[in-house]
């Protein structure tokens, strides 16, 4: 800082007309004349479009010609154009963090279209504020980070296998970590998958064979990830395989731990023999159709209720699939599905639903306030249309239970510092725009760990997560942002206030010195520490209190 203060500050201000977007509503000449009067400003230029090639060239030429060491552009929003102008500075050998923008379009000319005079007045202030801040900017550097071009996939179900396969095919080394003795997850328990109409084992064996043939993929079965340290590009992951622990370096981690089917203990007389779940029915169907002639399937068992409010989404199609298989095994079998709402989205599912009805599967809607009663060899249900209770013979009752979060989801969540929702499923970075990413860089998500997924969805999410991960893996190096926090070691008293508020775990307490220290690689520049620090020892480079005080002062300059 001291070095910078000695140097004469020479600011160049570029004021953009944005065609008529700014020039049509503000008095540009007034802005130019005003900018010339501001302290440290040695050069002012009006551009028709500062972001055009000629505008950019004018910035690049003015920097050496007028010996500028700060650049301010008064134009649109930094949210879209800051990187462009920063790189113009960089090309002219000026540190890109010695650049500042004044937003006089989106937050001025466009919102004060009928108030030229007052709008121009506001623009002047915004320019003065940017100039005052620019004078206090200092050079910042981006830190270059190496990358481990290797991935760890946690969970060897269909989505994890798909992700590992995709990354392996791209040539990246992958550690695929599966808790069970063999790969496949829930797919191991399934019988026939529709609409493909093939045994799940065929699908599974085919993928498993391709994985074992790929020498880039190392499969760790009966293994668990017990620890993950580091950050994007440079994770160190501890894998416990049987009794041995191995530490591997990885650039990215994919969470594909899947989900498990709820065992409905205490619900609808579940006993695992005559009252079973779909997974247990699939096991019976694998060995040939069960002997029962009258089968009743109950939907929404343990889901869409107070305890678990969500719809598990895949149970309706599973029930319809199994009803078809039971009917096809013997058309004399009577199959009744007791449901609340049938969720048969998509072309194939609706066709499957129609087919089941053609085969004679009976659908009876039940009222959640009057739940079906499971008896010895019958199920009683209140038939809403008939307005009375009916009794349906049933030697076998199948309960459609939801997929619920894995028991170790909370462990994985705290280990990787990624969030879970209220039901224990992982929460993606953005509900619409980042479905396969976490807010934490370098960690990705796919399959039923996020929410119950069909095989097709799990596969596409696995492939998608692999692509997202490859964006990191394909780079030679990563650069951190220069905008990070810094703690003044002289004034920090080690109160730990910043450590508590940092959402990225980027600040640690250095015991021997009794001060707090920022890891600039982990820091995302949110500034929470700077706002919390009682002694203003923590500051955010590029948004420091000194810079902001200068802006505030100019907001009232006349």
């Amino acid at each position: 800082m001291t070095g910078n203060q000695k140097e004469e500050i020479r600011i160049g201000v570029f004021i953009c007309d944005c065609g008529s977007n700014i020039a049509g509503y503000l008095t540009m000449q007034e802005l130019v004349d005003y900018a010339r009067t501001l302290p440290n400003v040695v050069f002012v230029q009006e551009n028709l479009y500062t972001c055009s090639e000629s505008g950019i060239n004018e910035i690049k030429q003015a920097i050496p010609t007028h010996n500028l060491n700060r650049v301010v552009v008064a134009s649109c929003t930094p949210r879209t154009h800051e990187p462009l102008f920063q790189s113009a500075c960089e090309e002219a050998a000026l540190n890109p963090y010695l650049f500042e923008m004044a937003n006089i379009r989106d937050q001025c000319s466009w919102v004060h279209m009928r108030e030229r005079e007052k709008g121009t007045e506001r623009a002047k202030h915004q320019i003065a504020m940017a100039v005052a801040k620019a004078a206090r900017l200092r050079e910042l550097s981006r830190i270059e980070l190496g990358i481990s071009h290797r991935a760890v996939v946690i969970g060897g179900g269909i989505s994890g296998m798909s992700a590992a396969m995709a990354l392996g095919n791209m040539g990246y080394e992958v550690d695929l970590v599966e808790k069970q003795e063999k790969l496949g997850g829930l797919l191991n328990s399934l019988n026939i998958v529709l609409p493909a109409n093939e045994p799940s084992s065929r699908l599974l064996h085919d993928l498993a064979a391709r994985i074992s043939a790929n020498d880039k993929i190392i499969v760790h079965t009966s293994s668990e990830v017990t620890k993950a340290e580091g950050y994007v590009g440079n994770y160190v992951v501890t894998i416990r395989e049987k009794s041995a622990e191995n530490r591997v370096k990885a650039g990215v981690i994919i969470v594909a731990i899947g989900a498990r089917a709820l065992k409905p203990e205490g619900l609808f007389g579940y006993n695992g023999k005559s009252v079973i779940t779909h997974l247990e029915l699939e096991a019976l169907l694998k060995q040939g159709a069960p002997a029962a002639k009258n089968v009743v399937i109950v939907q929404c068992v343990g889901s869409r209720c107070a305890e678990r409010t969500y719809c598990s989404r895949i149970c309706c199609m599973t029930a319809v699939k199994n009803s078809i298989l039971l009917k096809e095994a013997d058309s004399r079998n009577k199959v009744t599905i007791l449901y609340r709402d049938m969720m048969m989205y998509g072309v194939e599912n609706e066709d499957m639903f129609r087919k089941s009805k053609e085969l004679g599967v009976r659908y009876v809607a039940y009222d959640p306030a009057k739940l079906p009663q499971v008896g010895e060899d019958f199920v009683k249900v209140y038939h809403q249309r008939m307005g009375k209770e009916i009794s349906i013979p049933a030697e076998l009752v199948v309960l459609s239970t939801p997929l619920v979060a894995q028991e170790d989801a909370a462990n994985v969540s705290s280990m990787l510092k990624v969030p879970l929702n209220e039901n224990g499923f992982f929460l993606e970075g953005h509900v619409k725009l980042k479905p396969l990413d976490f807010a934490t860089d370098g960690v990705y998500l796919c399959g039923s760990a996020r929410f119950p997924a069909t095989i097709r969805e799990a596969v596409s999410q696995g492939l998608g997560a692999a692509s997202r991960a490859a964006i990191v893996l394909s780079k030679e190096a990563l650069f951190t942002s220069g905008i990070v926090a810094d703690i003044n070691t002289e004034t920090c008293c080690g109160c730990l206030g910043c450590v508590d508020v940092c959402p990225y775990g980027a600040i640690r307490f250095v015991e021997e010195k009794e001060i707090c220290q920022v890891n600039k690689v982990l820091c995302k520049g949110c500034g929470g520490c700077a706002a919390t620090c009682p002694s203003e020892s923590a500051k955010l480079d590029g948004f420091s209190s000194e810079q902001i005080y200068a802006q505030i002062e100019q907001a009232f300059a006349s």
Binding site: T77, K118, G528, T532, L540, F543, S545, F556
Partner: protein
């Protein structure tokens, strides 16, 4: 200064990721509002400390808006 002529100056600290984007969107949508606001971009509303808010009042702000 009579009541009618009073023109307050409001300092707005806007979070880059939401409120600042919202202020940009107001512009893109051509929503018109009084030109009494002076915006300061912050990277997070949590960055805005009490020091900064008090400084704004001290320097003459009639109101401070923290959007995040």
């Amino acid at each position: 200064m009579s009541e009618e002529q009073f023109e307050p100056t409001i300092v707005g600290f806007l979070c880059n990721w939401c409120a600042y984007a919202g202020a940009d969107l107001a512009g893109v949508s051509r929503l018109q509002y009084p030109p009494n606001l002076r915006t300061i971009r912050s990277l997070c509303s949590a960055t805005v400390g009490s020091h900064q808010i008090l400084k704004a009042f001290q320097k003459g702000a009639d109101g401070v808006f923290v959007g995040g």
